[in-house]
């Protein structure tokens, strides 16, 4: 076994233990329903949990993430069996169609997620503190090389990479789901997701709904983790800090997202759910058990967002280098602050709204059940009070990356720095009073639609300030276009498309036609690709040398860009076009009489091209870690502090404290730069 590379050992374990889990699930299922359901939910869930855990066992051995996952599986079983036992004593059915009953699954999933946190070891220090044992602030290095990414680390740079890689993994899964249902949409009528299909207790259209709904939420979680990734990695470096303010909380914020991702994936196998990512009741009050796994997954992931943003805010307030006043903060830090303010105060609302539906299902509380005096529209208000500001959580960090990188590649100061900084806060603030524009057709008070239309259109003003300022930054610059800059420019144009396709939805009269059509789908993909995906890739290409000491391949990066960008334009234009021709969103099949087949086919091809370009990116990413060109010195000739020290970044960041002596983007001013390192004071000991 010693000679097998860890990765291939992981794959071997995945196959073997996946089969074992499948067999175990099949046997348990047989005991319950007295028939062999080969594509049923129970064998699938057991196979998923076993295979996923075994992969990490093979790669890494029984420690770190593997121990967490094993504990999660055991915790789920113990919690589920506990509730099954209590139900048996109460005279209720102990087991159900999916092996456990719904209450068992919910409680088991919750205990499983908590067990993961104990198992992975992220609570160790806090547990020691409760027993009065002191722990060192600087962890000794238990792991070296790639191994440190598979276990709890308190280093913000390791956590940043963990976040980023998890986000990339989830993007792949969410993208894969999209390719499956996008293929079904390539033609009208049902091709392979037919009503005769039976997979995980779902027929074709039900599976379509599950995949489409999960595509939405998995992408959202991956965006939250992706932004957390570069914010975690970069913000302390930009501030000149050694680490985040609360390193243990930082590790906790990351690790709590792993069981959340497992829960989200479990929902697909436990009957799925057919509500879209919005989970509107009463439909979500009737959906299969998978709905509860989805609610719990989002609930748990929410902790990651809330605690992570708290950490960022405290870090920015308390840990800036000497001389780094408000107007000398790197602009990305301003974006991170605006994002943190939203995530810290709004995330609770989505958790709450989902929790209320969970309780409605589990305990019969009629929050949204009209038969019990509940109100389904109330859910939408609670849900969108987070979920609209959430889109600014997705895009503000990306827009921050654009503002941060643009001056470097234009060799000119960021035009209107203060205005851009304030526009982020402006967007965050206005974002809190626009949520009901998702509900213009919902049956809420119809006169309230007018103030929400005004407030929504107001978002255009701070967003416009950003666009105008970016263009003015480029005006008369000395522009060069390596890969990160290409993605910055792509991000600007794509986000502009997203911004301009927004007002027709904000204006009530046209929204009454556009709402719930594919036009919205196109608009949304434009904003998210422009505000997150393009800047995220820009950030990876830009800071990759800082993290690894090697550069990514420039040619492959350009192929990635020039393949993805045109394909993306074709995809979203196609989406908007079919939407304007009467294509509803979230449908598995469309009326052939609408003549949408040709456009849908092109959109599907474009989606596959985007996937291909991302595969090229992945190859470049993993290949460059080992074989990339060595990064020497200040790779991008930036004024930013992290580029004034060697790459990869030293473990404890800056050896000498730094002091801000100039403007962050003072390109062309001929000054002595943004920062200087302070020589330690002469030792005063006698």
């Amino acid at each position: 076994m010693k000679n097998i590379k860890p990765f291939w050992r992981g794959i071997l374990f995945l196959v073997v233990f996946g089969a074992v889990g499948y067999g175990l699930g099949l046997g348990l299922d047989f005991l319950m329903v007295k028939s062999l359901r080969f594509s049923g939910p129970v064998p699938s869930v057991f196979a998923l949990l076993f295979a996923f855990t075994a992969f990490f066992l093979g790669v890494f051995g029984f420690r770190g993430i593997t121990r967490g996952l094993v504990w999660q599986v055991l915790g789920t079983l113990v919690g589920g069996l506990l509730v099954a036992g209590i139900r048996a004593i109460m005279g209720l059915p102990a087991f159900g169609d999916f092996f456990f009953t719904e209450p068992s699954w919910v409680f088991g999933a919750l205990t499983g997620a908590i067990s993961f946190l104990f198992g992975v070891g992220v609570l160790d220090d806090w547990m020691k503190w409760t027993r009065g044992i002191d722990t060192p602030d600087e962890h000794e290095e238990h792991y070296h090389g790639w191994e440190k990414y598979f276990a709890v680390s308190l280093d913000h740079k390791v956590i940043g990479v963990q976040y980023t890689v998890t986000a990339l993994l989830l993007i792949s899964i969410g993208g894969l789901f999209a390719l499956i249902f996008r293929s079904e949409l390539a033609e009208s009528q049902l091709q392979f997701l037919t009503t005769n299909l039976n997979l995980f207790s779902q027929n074709g259209p039900q599976l379509y709904n599950s995949l489409m709904s999960l595509h939405g939420m998995i992408m959202i979680v991956s965006i939250l983790l992706g932004t957390a990734g570069f914010i975690n990695y970069v913000v302390p470096l930009l501030l000149g800090a050694q680490d985040m303010a609360f390193p243990r909380l930082n590790a906790f914020s990351y690790w709590v997202s792993v069981p959340a991702a497992v829960l989200l994936l479990m929902s697909l196998f436990l009957g799925g759910f057919d509500t879209g990512w919005t989970g509107y009741p009463p439909l979500s009050a009737r959906a299969p058990v998978g709905m509860q796994m989805f609610f719990l997954g989002v609930f748990v992931a929410g902790w990651s967002s809330i605690l992570g943003s708290l950490n960022v805010l405290v870090t920015v307030v308390r840990m800036r280098a000497k001389g780094m006043t408000a107007w000398r903060l790197p602009i990305l830090v301003w974006a991170a602050v605006a994002t943190g303010l939203i995530a810290l105060t709004a995330t609770q609302l989505i958790g709450l709204s989902f929790q209320l539906v969970m309780f409605q299902r589990l305990f019969g509380m009629g929050f949204f059940d009209p038969a019990k005096g509940g109100n389904p529209v109330l859910f939408q208000h609670l849900f969108w009070f987070y979920s609209h500001p959430a889109v600014y959580v997705f895009v503000l960090p990306g827009l921050g990356v654009i503002s941060e990188l643009l001056p470097v590649f234009v060799r000119k100061p960021l035009f209107g720095y203060k205005w851009i900084a304030m526009s982020s806060l402006g967007i965050a603030l206005v974002g809190f009073v626009v949520w009901a524009h998702h509900m213009f057709t919902s049956g809420m008070n119809e006169y309230l639609r007018i103030p929400f239309m005004y407030s929504t259109l107001l978002v255009a003003i701070p967003t416009g300030v950003k666009f105008f300022s970016w263009v003015a930054t480029m005006w008369k610059g000395k522009i060069s276009t390596p890969t990160p800059m290409l993605f910055v420019l792509g991000g600007i144009v794509v986000f502009l498309m997203g911004g301009l396709s927004g007002p027709p939805n904000a204006i009530v009269s046209t929204d009454l036609q556009l709402h719930d059509t594919y036009f919205i789908v196109g608009h949304f993909h434009d904003t998210i690709f422009g505000g997150f995906v393009f800047p995220f890739f820009a950030a990876i290409y830009y800071w990759f040398p800082k993290a690894t000491g090697r550069r990514m391949n420039e040619t492959l990066g350009k192929i990635h860009f020039w393949l993805m960008t045109p394909a993306f334009f074709v995809m979203t234009f196609g989406m908007m076009y079919v939407g304007l021709l009467g294509m509803r969103r979230r449908i598995v099949d469309y009326d052939p009489a609408l003549h949408l087949d040709a456009t849908h086919f092109v959109v599907t091809i474009a989606a596959f091209l985007i996937a291909l370009s991302v595969l090229i990116f992945f190859f470049n990413f993993f290949n460059s870690i080992k074989n990339g060109e060595k990064a020497e010195g200040n790779v991008w000739n930036s004024r930013s502090p992290e580029w004034q020290v060697p790459s990869p970044m030293p473990v404890h960041n800056y050896e000498k404290p730094l002091e801000v002596v100039g403007e962050p983007y003072g390109y062309g001013s001929g000054d002595d730069g943004y920062i200087k390192f302070v020589e330690p004071a002469v030792n005063a000991h006698k």
Binding site: L458, P503, D516
Partner: protein
Amino acid sequence: MYHFVIVGVLVILMTILTYMGIDAVGLARHMNPVSASAQAVFVDQMWHWEIWVISFLFSLIVVPLVYSLIFFRQKKGEMKDGEHVEGNTQLEIAWTIMPLIIVVIFAYFGAYTLGEERRVDPNAMVINVKAQQFTWTFEYPQYGFFSSELHLPVDQQVVLKMESADVIHSFWVPEFRLKQDVVPGRTTEYRITPDLEGSYKVRCAELCGTSHAYMENPLVVTSQADYDAWVQEQIAIAAASKTPEGQGKVLATSNGCVGCHSADGTKLTGPTWFDLFGSEVPLADGTTTTADEAYLAESIKDPNVKVVEGFPANVMPAFSLTDEEISNIIAYIKTLK
């Protein structure tokens, strides 16, 4: 200075080109498909203005961006920085105030067009709409009959009083340019004045479950004379349906059964009723059963006891029907051969 002049001219050209491009695919002056209501005129007018503004703002950003990329590139080997310009407060104020003015004007027009769409005709005709998974049922209260097709006379305002039996649905006719959710526990209103005769479809726009994609019912806009003839026909059918099978057909329509169970052998969300009575039905557990009265009654009351092969369980909602009503529906099923 000449850079600004060139860019200004290019922005105007680009605006016109963008508008013409959108117009070339037929989406600038109006949305698609064809507009078929008095309200749609205002929506299309608003859309047309929006396309002009979008074309202009798109050009205003993209033209100087691309221009800079071409003319302000760093030459090979050049290591110089650009001009040290940190900003211009007057410019920033200008591009804050100008969009603010545009936005307020636009919101005003948005509110104005919405007001026109919602304008009430006191003589509007009332039709009751019931939405359920996965069909629409239309009740004409002044005549007392139900229909699974919505027939409307042209140039007459109707107000639809809509209720849902289960989950949230949304009433949408793309040609009418209006959409309104149908929410359990309340009555929502949809006011429309069709102005173009033709056949359209009512499509559910809010995800409502497995067969959401197929929740489409026919909509026919006809002349007043044709509409009156159709109404008389429906009244006659309703009057003739005093027999058990006639009552059964009315119940099957008013309860929405026909939305999922076809009468002509077509496979919809549920098994067809055509030639069903007396046939051998294959079940999901591998056995078969004879479709007799007992089986049909059981399947209406508790559809998940015997699930037909090829159809998922837990799709059909529960109905509150009396035993007599159920036997009437079975009598109707018997006639479908």
